[in-house]
Symmetry: C2
Amino acid sequence: MNNKIKVKFPDGSEKEFDKGITALDIARQISNRLADEALVAKINGEVRDLAAKLDDDSELKLLTFDDPDGQHTYWHSTSHLMAHAIQSIYPEAKFGVGPAIENGFYYDVDIDVKLSEEDLPKIEQRMLEIAKQGNPFKRAELSKHEAYEFFKKKGDPYKQEIITELDEKKDVISIYEEGGFTDLCTGPHIPDTSKIKFVKLLSVSGSYWRGDEKNKQLQRIYGISFPKKKMLDDYLTLLEEAKKRDHRKLGKELELFLISPKIGIGLPIWLPKGTVLRDTLEKFLREEQLKRGYLPVVTPHIGNIELYKTSGHYPYYKESQFPTLKLEDGHEEYLLKPMNCPHHFQIYASKPRSYRDLPIRIAEFGTVYRYEKSGELNGLTRVRSFAVDDSHIFVRQDQLKDEVCNVIELIQVVFSVMGFKDFTTQLSFRDENVEKYGGEIELWEKAQQEIREAADLMKLNYIVAEGEAAFYGPKIDFMVKDALGRKWQLGTVQIDYVMPERFNLEYTGSDGQKHRPVVIHRAPFGSLERFIGVLIEHYAGYFPTWLAPVQAVVIPVSQNFFDYAENVHKLLLESNIRSELDLRSEKVGYKIRDWETQKVPYMLIVGEKEKETGTVSVRQHKAGDKGNILLKDFISKINLEIVNKVNHN
Amino acid sequence: MNNKIKVKFPDGSEKEFDKGITALDIARQISNRLADEALVAKINGEVRDLAAKLDDDSELKLLTFDDPDGQHTYWHSTSHLMAHAIQSIYPEAKFGVGPAIENGFYYDVDIDVKLSEEDLPKIEQRMLEIAKQGNPFKRAELSKHEAYEFFKKKGDPYKQEIITELDEKKDVISIYEEGGFTDLCTGPHIPDTSKIKFVKLLSVSGSYWRGDEKNKQLQRIYGISFPKKKMLDDYLTLLEEAKKRDHRKLGKELELFLISPKIGIGLPIWLPKGTVLRDTLEKFLREEQLKRGYLPVVTPHIGNIELYKTSGHYPYYKESQFPTLKLEDGHEEYLLKPMNCPHHFQIYASKPRSYRDLPIRIAEFGTVYRYEKSGELNGLTRVRSFAVDDSHIFVRQDQLKDEVCNVIELIQVVFSVMGFKDFTTQLSFRDENVEKYGGEIELWEKAQQEIREAADLMKLNYIVAEGEAAFYGPKIDFMVKDALGRKWQLGTVQIDYVMPERFNLEYTGSDGQKHRPVVIHRAPFGSLERFIGVLIEHYAGYFPTWLAPVQAVVIPVSQNFFDYAENVHKLLLESNIRSELDLRSEKVGYKIRDWETQKVPYMLIVGEKEKETGTVSVRQHKAGDKGNILLKDFISKINLEIVNKVNHN
């Protein structure tokens, strides 16, 4: 009988240990520092407690706070710690759920006092006191009945409810305890509370139990924690900066868009300045698409319900759609279009197509309507109406790779112009073991191979996610990082083998036979609304000159120079520069400060000297005073900046 | 006792006649020719039979076929004649109604045989035979009871139904008889059937009695008639030409738009070539508007039902709207927007406005949705979704006249660019004696005065129509004549005193007090769909080069010149000319004929000589061969034509 096991590490090295050794012990054998920093262990691909024992040959990775899984566990453990602290302050507290989230964690609690932000430091304080006790997180396993009785005794009706509704087959339930506080939890957790050094509770808000308005409203407390002070400080600075850049706030200050409950929540209205932004972006993409052979079309915003029954989107996505429009005669029923595809398919099908005609690239900035719950709406990033920079490209299978390259190239141009230097790509492929996918397996395999080749060819920085494909085909998703390093999912490219079948789309091949085209759905912006929301935050409202709603403002130093200022303004307009003229009877200093808040790229101050010499004194946003230059030179300079879409960020 | 009366003629002259003289006798005294050509008389503004007696001093105008009222009566009398002929062929025939219409007349008849176009010449023939008899149209007046009994005896149940439903107070009912055929009719009529010389019955179709699907379907026969053969010939030629220009036919042949029942009837889908047309028109107007200080916005296609309750459009225009979208929670109800105004009002109201900010010109190419009955839909001219080139201009009362002038000037530019040389304007004012209008009378008076001054200033060819104003203010409607002389109502300008009140719109005046702005609703195109429908017929699909979806096509004479043709095509595209390249393996003659049917302005034929000399052989649509010119000269020439929007029609 062999009492040794072999453990393989991420660097490929292997080492023998006694059977039954814990991950923590292995960490200690490697180095004290690693033992100190390790939070959890990935054993054969599964994230587990450091106390977990290794009984067989295994692959092992020790995870610190640098690893996303390490972070996630850290925050999850902190949410237990917060619940512990709350219970010690409010002994009657009952607990809902308390997960880790993308940044930090929350816990939903049921206590009689209404908490405000002022109550949070007290809880934070108590958390740090408990953390210092260094209580180990201890896992135990109970039968379902035992667990139910435990939480009944503890007085946690929400936990009881969760246990009752667990899968019947599951009869072993895990709980975690630290310092006397026990929670229902699948784990894993960090070794002990002393790892939690710096905590910030961020906000408290109402939250219905299980998101259902019919249930009791609990209080949800959000927080975050870090092992180092600098990490917390950096995060709080980022939060502060993000608040300043909040597109809802800037959208209002810069008069870009409006959401009026009188018209409807989640339905953005583009004000004149926001419309300039929107039209400029649309024009830019429209021109890039024209160069690449796209064919713009315009289709109505409603469609017969049968279209969506054919596509399979109705009634399966009914929850996220507006109700249908049923005409009184009962024969006609329409849906506000939740996507543009079925309309574009009708255009493709409106005449016979030959193999020589493909690829056909139908494009539309088509506004679609989806029903989102009012609680989920958020500025421009979560809305009920949005314009997709949509295109459906109909190709032969043998054209797929080239066309995917073309699409990737366009998306690269778009991101580069916007200054998104850092973006990553996910190739979402089928899961070999699952059978939910449509279309022939051979075509999928070939398409995935070609997507991968296209991604390599286009030098994409990509990861492959097996099992993340849509049911109708593999896809490519693009994630950009904004100026604050936050990630946003924007563009998408999807290959579709199913819809051409459902809509009976055909072309005549060189063999004279009918064939099905493959459809590529693609949208570099994704949604124009969401894209602009992200841009506002990315640029902090300080748009590059080519996008800025107002590109220059002319400010005379006194009434004596109104005529010259008017001339300058007129010349700018004639040179297609979006200029404004400020003839208010205010001091120049006041005007400058005022236009600074409007983040206008250029202010042109004009007085005696400028009038005499045909010049303007240029003040550039952020860069400050740029001196006195000839008006015609300024016009050349700004026009060059606009034509080249210079990105100053 | 004076037996003489004084009669005043249109030229202002007056003459005495014996009391009781008929209009026809007066015509005879003036000239035999007039007596021969006169059809009806306008006596003190009322159109009456020539047999009508003049018992008092009167104004008299004798109307011939040149006068619209003369024509209308002529066609009305012809419809009686047709009924007479039908009865003599189908004695069991029962008659519905038979009015004159804009061009000709129709009669709804109930006979057991189903008529086809082949049956019409027989009826025409019979009509001409009866016409030659020169039967006088004789008027008689009966009591309601007598009339009912008369048509009961004749066996005309539809006429009986009409009599039964006549206003109770009306007890004298007129009938007209000619040659033994009697019809229920208020008249007037022409003197006798011999005036009807040339008749053409045009079509027969089903028509439910009183337009109600629940009633019996009658057969509606359309026809037209003229006193001179040339008039009929000209009209039939016009009909033939109109058929060729039918925008539904051309829309399909030129691949401009599509109406797919799968998406929905009345919902036009713009195909790539139609989208070029649409985008080019939109771009043109957008640029003209930018120069004039308009501010583009974008608003959603639905709006909370409360907006339309405030405006008064719901539930009063419910019949012409799609059903509402009622969310399941019952709190929110939306309407597909039937107009853009309430959305634009919310934009105006989104911030405080000062007297210095006005005028504010909010503009949007906003797609609106109206419910038209399926039977009323027609190509692009009667649809359920259409984009209005909408603007709402918010002005102070003292800015109204100037702004109306600005709007008229823009509409004049639009019409002139399109080549609508001949357009008329109607100033629709309030009826002094009716009280349905909103707003203060003094403001109306002032506005009407200013509209008239603006119309004079802008040298409009206008008529004033009292009582034709909208309930919220006076308006100006523009009617264009197309290339076939047909009239279309396009642009509109409406002054609105009521909506600013209902939506509580305000600005702060120079006096520091709140005031209401006046709103001008205006749309030079009216509806983009309808406008393009009219343009297609106006140009017969042969669009001026700046609008043409394909501006030039390059045709190599053989495969040897494919490379040169490709170069030419590439250079055209780089010069922003919408070029196509025809590399099909067809004969040049075939290709030329094919592109002729596509009505492409320029074909560039290239072969040996062209390749050697860097030229193209230009073939212009309709104009034919324009000889061999240097490619760069052709590019300059076509670009000049595009920039100047040259109208060749």
